[in-house]
């Protein structure tokens, strides 16, 4: 009797924990089989194909190893010292930075401008959208090959233009000063269509009546763009920059047929550097160290960017 009355009298806050515990127990019993069934395969695949290779690369980076037999010659952090003392690697870092800057300052504004044009309801807008997107559809290697011919000082389009103007055609890809700008031109040409499509999607998701409200509020075209459209496109711009940064760090297949990183390493990026100095020269230990550095840069940039700029997206 006294027991029942005490239970009945106990405040709800005292009874609640036991109920909560029971609920939690039931929940655990419900999720445990699911965890046991579904987690191991994913975990196993991820470990074998992602974690292990990365760990292995990190391990190799401390050896002087050409890839044959087992790595035996431990050299500590020598590979890393070599990397940072290598002028070609520093050039590659600068080039990657340059690509990011051009992508932010030239490519993305160009893409945004074209996107605002092709989202207007004018005849042929869809055709232009397709045309602008075409370079992106092309395989990177094919694009590299095409532009190698375009830039060719003897037979290329550039040579043709210079010859008709009565000037001597330059060999831009063979010129240390001109090769990188020429390459940047190709990069902008190749990827602006992709960014443009991102912006087209972003622009289409803006409620038209908001822009009409701005019209009625008395905004001019520029004011409408800078004070309404652009802020509303914020997340798309941030995403576009993110893709630009990540794309620059991965740039490889278009450079190989174009310049192969030359002349005298003027157009090296981090990945072409890894390939030319690690893989081609059978320096697997050194290459692994480059891979580790590249990985750290990528992760820092990607996560840092997401944390700082995309936290609300």
């Amino acid at each position: 009797m006294s027991q029942t009355s005490s239970v009945a009298a106990s405040p709800p806050s005292m009874r609640a924990p036991s109920v909560a515990r029971r609920n939690r127990k039931r929940q655990v019993r419900g999720t445990l089989p699911v965890l046991v069934l579904f987690l191991p395969p994913a975990l196993l695949l991820f470990t074998v194909f992602v974690i292990l290779p990365m760990g292995e690369a990190a391990w190799y980076s401390f050896y002087n190893w050409n890839g044959y037999g087992l790595p035996t010659q431990w050299i500590g952090t020598k590979n890393y010292e070599l990397i940072f003392n290598n002028a070609a690697f520093r050039q590659a870092l600068i080039n990657n930075g340059l690509i990011i800057i051009v992508s932010i300052l030239v490519q993305i504004p160009l893409a945004l401008w074209l996107a605002t044009m092709v989202t207007h309801k004018i005849k042929g807008a869809v055709l232009f959208r397709l045309l602008f997107f075409l370079p992106y559809v092309l395989a990177d290697v094919a694009a590299g090959m095409i532009w190698r011919f375009v830039y060719d000082g003897q037979f290329g389009l550039v040579a043709g233009i210079f010859n008709t103007l009565g000037m001597e055609a330059p060999f831009w890809l063979a010129d240390k000063q001109a090769a990188m700008p020429a390459l940047l031109g190709v990069i902008v040409w190749k990827y602006f269509g992709f960014h443009m499509m991102l912006f087209v999607a972003g622009l289409q998701s803006i409620d038209k009546s908001v822009l009409e409200a701005a019209d009625i509020d008395g905004a001019t075209g520029w004011q409408k763009f800078f004070r309404v459209t652009l802020p509303l496109l914020g997340s798309t711009v941030r995403l576009s920059v993110f893709f630009g940064v990540v794309g620059s760090l991965q740039l490889f297949d278009m450079i190989m047929p174009l310049t192969g990183g030359g002349p005298s390493n003027a157009t090296q990026t981090m990945v072409t550097f890894l390939y030319s100095f690690g893989v081609m020269r059978m320096q697997v230990g050194f290459g692994s160290a480059v891979g580790v550095v590249l990985f750290i840069i990528c992760v820092t940039l990607a996560f840092g960017y997401k944390r700082i700029f995309m936290k609300n997206d």
Partner: protein
């Protein structure tokens, strides 16, 4: 503030004409509702007044100025959109201040005017919030605040209450009316809801297929509908219609129902007509017509009863106090002064009332 005049306004997309010869003048400070079914062109007219849509022909005059070629910013109009169209990235304060900022007003003036409008619409506690943090009703109030703050010549409302739930709609309706009383700006209100149009406006303009069917005070439209369309559109629940032929001065249906009426012209025998009687005008009892009750919809104070009058489902409004069951027989009569008769071909009313 200023009046507004539409002179022979027309709009066509290529060969498709959507608006024809609209003539409408709205007096300074008047509240006019444009009402009609979806696709009747009412929103297009509003957008043409706002300058968001070009006009194919005619003239729009605001105050003394022909505004045909002016941009929306030069017309000094304010518009409240159905989707509110608030700037999602700006706070309520910024939303309301945007127009004033663009027109280069001083910070102090902007602040004073925004706060004044916010006080009027009870938005002061919300000024620092973003639109995403507001409820539908609050957003609607901000949209109205944005319109009020700039002191426009004309207010345009494009179905502003359609996205709200029924209860909020009634509340906001009251607020719009109160707002109009306070600021007294010439207003055009577009809606497909005739109750909204009738409760809010001084004058209602009924549109169909881009043509004005009738304009007048709400009660004028209700009491003396010019044609079949207006009769069917104004009033809720809708008017009952019976196909009939005139015989001996009264309208007779094929099933033998007889409706005496007061003719204004051309009630010659054999003319095909449509008889219209509002559900609330049928009087229970009497010797008129009787039929079986097929459907009963109680709403509280009143009950909607559907009768089978000679094979014709007819809605009758009776007091909620009366208990009526499905299957019972009910006698109703239509008073002479409340029987509307329309020409079957032209739709024009030929009865006197």
């Amino acid at each position: 503030m200023a009046g507004l005049e539409l002179k022979n306004i027309a709009k066509s997309y290529g060969a498709v004409s959507v608006i024809e010869n609209i003539n409408l003048s709205v007096a300074d400070g008047e509240f006019v509702a444009l009402v009609g079914p979806s696709g009747c062109g009412k929103s297009t007219i509003l957008r043409m007044v706002a300058g968001l849509e070009d006009i194919t022909d005619g003239e729009i005059v605001i105050g003394e100025r022909i505004v045909n070629d002016l941009t929306p910013r030069e017309r000094n109009i304010a518009m409240v959109f159905q989707s509110y169209a608030l700037y999602p990235h700006m706070t309520v304060y910024k939303n309301m201040a945007f127009n004033l900022e663009l027109s280069g007003k001083s910070k102090a003036e902007i602040d004073q005017r925004v706060h004044q409008a916010a006080r009027m619409l009870e938005l002061e506690p919300l000024l620092e919030r973003k639109p995403s943090q507001l409820s539908g009703g609050q957003r609607q109030r901000v949209a109205m605040g944005r319109a009020v703050v700039r002191d426009p010549a004309v207010f345009l409302f494009d179905e502003p209450l359609s996205n709200l739930d029924a209860k909020l709609r009634v509340q906001m309706r009251g607020e719009i009316k109160a707002l109009h009383k306070k600021v007294g700006v010439t207003s055009i209100y577009v809606t497909h809801d005739q109750v909204e149009a009738m409760t809010l406006s001084d004058r209602v303009v009924v549109l169909n297929h881009g043509v004005i069917q009738q304009e007048g005070s709400p009660m004028e439209l209700y009491r003396r509908p010019a044609n079949l369309f207006v009769a069917g559109f104004i009033g809720s629940p809708a008017m009952n219609f019976f196909d009939a032929v005139i015989e001996g001065g009264e309208a007779r249906t094929a099933e033998g129902l007889r409706f005496p009426f007061t003719a204004s012209d051309g009630a010659q025998d054999g003319r095909k007509v449509v008889v219209g009687i509002r559900p609330e005008h049928f009087q229970a009892g009497g010797t008129g017509h009787s039929g079986a009750v097929t459907f009963v919809e109680p709403t509280g104070g009143q009950t909607f009863v559907t009768l089978d009058l000679g094979g014709h489902p007819t809605m009758v409004l009776v007091s909620g106090e009366e208990d009526i069951d499905t299957g019972a027989t009910l006698s109703v009569s239509a008073p002479l002064g409340r029987t509307y008769v329309f020409d079957a071909q032209t739709g024009r009313r030929i009865s006197q009332n």
